[in-house]
């Protein structure tokens, strides 16, 4: 095999990472367990995906001394002849699988012709269901793009009725920015972030700078400016303002409750900036202070924030410990709203642990509480989080249903930022369903809203998701364009995780374009960011980078 071909296979193998995919494992398990006839429908993204699956399945069968026999279908006309060719096939005795693949994505130029050819072939095969079952004592694998399922169901119901398994395989190496946006219960302020003008607050603060005895007033203004910056997603400026406010408050022996409020907000800013350790320090300080002054509500908020910081570091178990402490306090003091938020946080942590059912129970509790206390914003958040949990479970249709309910509430109460979130998550769900074009429509709507509301964080995420959508459509240049826009925003607002994601994703797109050197450079930059914020994704990027370097050295 030529070096180029070898590299192509290696790249494909990395993109799909089949061994890590439960659906692929399910397929191999079937080949290990099944005896006699079985009918499999394998749905893949494109011809590359089919080629890789075929190659890996061949290897798997060879281990048991079996072989894969393929009926080649290079043109729609060949596909139309499939029924006759299949019935005439006489595969050797050690055949483990009869492979029939014709994959044309629904955005391909020849899609209508291939669809018609599949329809004709399947309609003919439908009337031969029983002869086929009698004739073949092995697995028949029909391989096509995702639309093949619908075509088979409609035109070959008899054949469809005896399907053994439907398996969907998509690339595993997905752009990292395809993250879902938790709708609620992220970090907690002791008070709602102010929507005031931070520059005005700073202007006023400047007037007090040189005046002795005005430190506390100055600190209050800086705190207010910090909140204003947070509301505008300018997290570096928020960090700066909160940090100065905290120093002033501590120096001037401000009331503990006031220090606690700044500590909590500062912890939040650090979190957004990817500085989880700093965030933990501030949250721990907040817990201590709250206990000293007996502020149970503040203690619960600080514990909850501490949990979220550990959650961001990938330690969901530790996060759950803190959330549960927070929950106990909130129940004790009858803080229903806080209880709802903690349930949302617990749900997100259980999702991270892969315990989707527990996550759903938590989000359902959050929903019940929000409805009981008439917290419409919380209700929208809980619905959105339920959507995330179902998406995590793979139940995308149900996820969409929840996102739509969340969207309706957000629109009803005029929560534009939440509306953008819900639209973005709807886009992600449709992308996961393979309906990338529809996903793009949602992302575009989300982008309009995030731009209008000045939600820079959301704008960056949405640009990244648009990039990922075009990456999946194979349009690497367009994907890179969006990733670069995302990079500019994430850098500007100090969102290091977003910055790392945009760098990593553009590396993947450059790799797709064959620009190995640039891809490695971007991946290295991404890795530096991931490592700086101790993101668990760093390990994956490091491994991938090592392989690219090795491949580069080999060639």
């Amino acid at each position: 095999m030529s070096n180029e071909a070898q590299l192509r296979w290696e790249d494909l193998a990395r993109r799909y990472d089949l061994p890590s995919q439960p659906e692929w494992q399910k397929l191999l398990t079937l080949f290990d367990l099944a005896e006699g006839f079985s009918l499999l429908v394998l749905l893949v993204l494109d011809a590359d995906g089919a080629a890789l699956c075929r190659r890996e399945l061949e290897k798997h069968l060879q281990r048991e001394g079996n072989q894969l026999v393929s009926i080649e279908l290079p043109t729609p006309d060949d596909l139309r002849q499939l029924p006759a060719r299949l019935l005439a096939a006489q595969p050797p005795p050690n055949t483990g699988c009869l492979w029939m693949s014709a994959v044309e994505p629904d955005y391909g130029k020849a899609y209508p012709e291939w669809r018609e050819a599949w329809r004709e072939a399947l309609a003919r095969l439908n009337s031969q269901r029983n002869p086929i079952r009698r004739q073949f004592d092995l697995s028949l694998v029909f391989v096509g793009a995702s639309w093949l399922q619908e075509v088979m169901r409609e035109t070959a119901p008899d054949l469809w009725s005896v399907r053994t398994l439907v398996v969907r395989i998509e690339p595993a190496l997905r752009p990292a920015a395809e993250r879902q946006v938790p709708e609620a219960g992220r970090f907690e302020f002791t008070e709602e972030p102010g929507g005031g003008d931070p520059f005005f607050a700073l202007q006023e603060a400047e007037k007090l700078r040189s005046l002795p005895g005005k430190e506390l007033a100055l600190a209050r203004l800086l705190h207010r400016a910090g909140e204003g910056f947070a509301g505008r997603d300018d997290w570096r400026a928020a960090d700066k303002a909160f940090t100065e406010a905290l120093e002033l408050k501590q120096r001037a022996s401000a009331q503990a409750a006031s220090v606690l409020a700044t500590l909590l907000n500062l912890a939040w800013a650090c979190q957004i900036l990817g500085q989880s350790r700093r965030s933990i320090n501030h949250a721990q300080e907040a817990v201590k202070l709250a206990r000293e002054i007996g502020d149970r509500r503040g203690e619960a908020a600080a514990l909850s924030n501490l949990g979220l910081a550990y959650y961001s570091l990938g330690d969901a178990r530790k996060a759950i410990e803190f959330y549960e402490q927070a929950l106990a306090i909130r129940r004790e003091i009858g803080d229903r709203r806080g209880e709802g938020i903690t349930f949302s946080n617990l749900g997100l942590a259980y999702t991270a642990l892969g315990e989707a059912r527990k996550a759903i129970v938590c989000h359902e509790r959050a929903l019940v509480i929000a409805r009981k206390i008439g917290n419409r914003r919380g209700e929208g958040g809980a619905l959105g989080n339920l959507g995330l949990a179902y998406a995590d479970l793979g139940d995308l249709r149900k996820a969409i249903e929840f996102y739509e309910q969340a969207l309706a509430i957000r629109r009803e109460i005029g929560d534009r930022r939440g509306e953008g979130n819900a639209l973005g998550n709807l886009g992600l769900a449709y992308a996961a369903l393979g309906d990338v074009r529809r996903a793009i429509e949602f992302y575009e709507q989300a982008l309009v809203i995030t731009c209008k509301t000045g939600d820079r964080l959301g704008e960056g995420t949405t640009l990244g998701n648009l990039g990922s959508a075009y990456y999946r459509l194979g349009d690497a240049p367009k994907a890179i364009k969006f990733y670069m826009q995302q990079l500019a925003i994430t850098h500007e607002i100090g969102d290091r995780r977003g910055e790392a994601n945009s760098l990593w994703n553009s590396a993947l797109a450059l790799q797709m374009l064959g620009d190995q050197a640039q891809a490695i450079a971007r991946a290295e930059a991404a890795l530096r960011n991931y490592e700086a914020i101790e993101d668990p994704h760093a390990a994956k990027v490091r491994a991938q980078l090592a392989e690219w370097r090795k491949a580069g050295a080999g060639s």
Binding site: K26, A123, S127, P157, R357, L393, D395, R397
Partner: protein, 445 residues
Amino acid sequence: MAFTPDERQLQKRLFQCLADEALKPGSKFYEPIYEHAGSEDPVVLMRVLIELTATESIQMFSGFRGSGKTTELFRLKKSLEAEGYVVLYGDALEYLNPAQEIDISDLLIVLAGTFSDALEAEGLGDIGRDDYWTRLKNYLTTTTVMVDEADVKAGVDLKLKLKTTPTFRQMLQEKLANRIGELKREVDRFFEDGVKAIRAKRGAKFPGVVFLFDQMEQIRGTLSNEKSVIDSVVRLFSQHLKLMEIPYVHMVYTVPPWLKFVVPGLARIQILPSVRQWKNDAKRTDYPAGWTALRSLVHRRFGDVDFQRFFGGPGPKHPLADRLIAVCGGHFRDLLRLLREAVLRVQTLPVTEEIIQSAIVAVRSNYLPIAIDDAKWLDQIERVREAALPSTGEKDVNRLTRFLDTHFVLYFANGKEWYDIHPLIREEVAAIVKREAANTPPAKA
């Protein structure tokens, strides 16, 4: 965590127990799911009708895809044989090409030929006379002097030609078109001779002969000729039903279920319903007998010990097994599919709730996406619990049939016929309809 060899064996054993194939009488996996209290058992109804009707009758048996028609036909065979009947079985697809139009002349020839082969297979054929294929050849070549002897040989060649040579079938149809009466008499005589021969072998005391003619419902054509093939089937049953009655024989034809919609005056078709898990009320109150039958099916497939190991508790009633049963829509094929998904995904024993949920999600995804227009009709079916067929026109009937065949719509019969939609799609249908309603501007006054 990797399975131990013993666990791997268990997984393999379970997977193989869940194979989807027609069960032969006496199979340890057979679960009499249609026999529970409160359900109409079409097999019992047919058996009673046969027993009550002297000498001969015509029965039509049907079911949607995956309802277990062939398995249930074998049950009918077994129960009638227990009463002393001679029951012969023929597979229409052995002789007819389901992609081609069918004519009464084809059917009569194939009926007699299949009966002849079935007699042979049951050891009742050695009756000192020609088999039907030889008689047919003689009839075609000498009696009617229509066909060149070189063109047809008796037995396999003639059968093969009928099935695989459309021009030969067409030629026969054309030449026999004006001689249907004559052909029918020939066929009747052959059946009569056959029954006489059986009597001679079995003695006069046996109650009768039953001929199960299976797979006729498969005749539906392909994309290019579906309409003409379906029209030919409709013509057969609406115009030639009388000719399909055979003297001295109880004929059981498996027919396509959509016939009940397009030929409403037809003799009653016994359709295999979905196993009823809920009552036809607004809340879909559980119907315990259906649940018991399906739980027993799962338990029987797994066996007591393996059930405990897989689900982590004794059966047949277990919450995780019940979660799969709850969404199978009373269709055992869907239930087997759900169980297979769970068995293939399991990585540690006993199975976890997450695996059960992902199995449900995987099978549900087989039903998606649902077109908006389909969702609207399905929503109506769910609300009124009737077929809600807008017309008996070809397009609507095809759509409804497709719903029933793909189990989007479930058919129930318990004294009264009613319909519902599959539990796996209820939420999706409701969501689509709601979304569409929200997107539709109110009508102008």
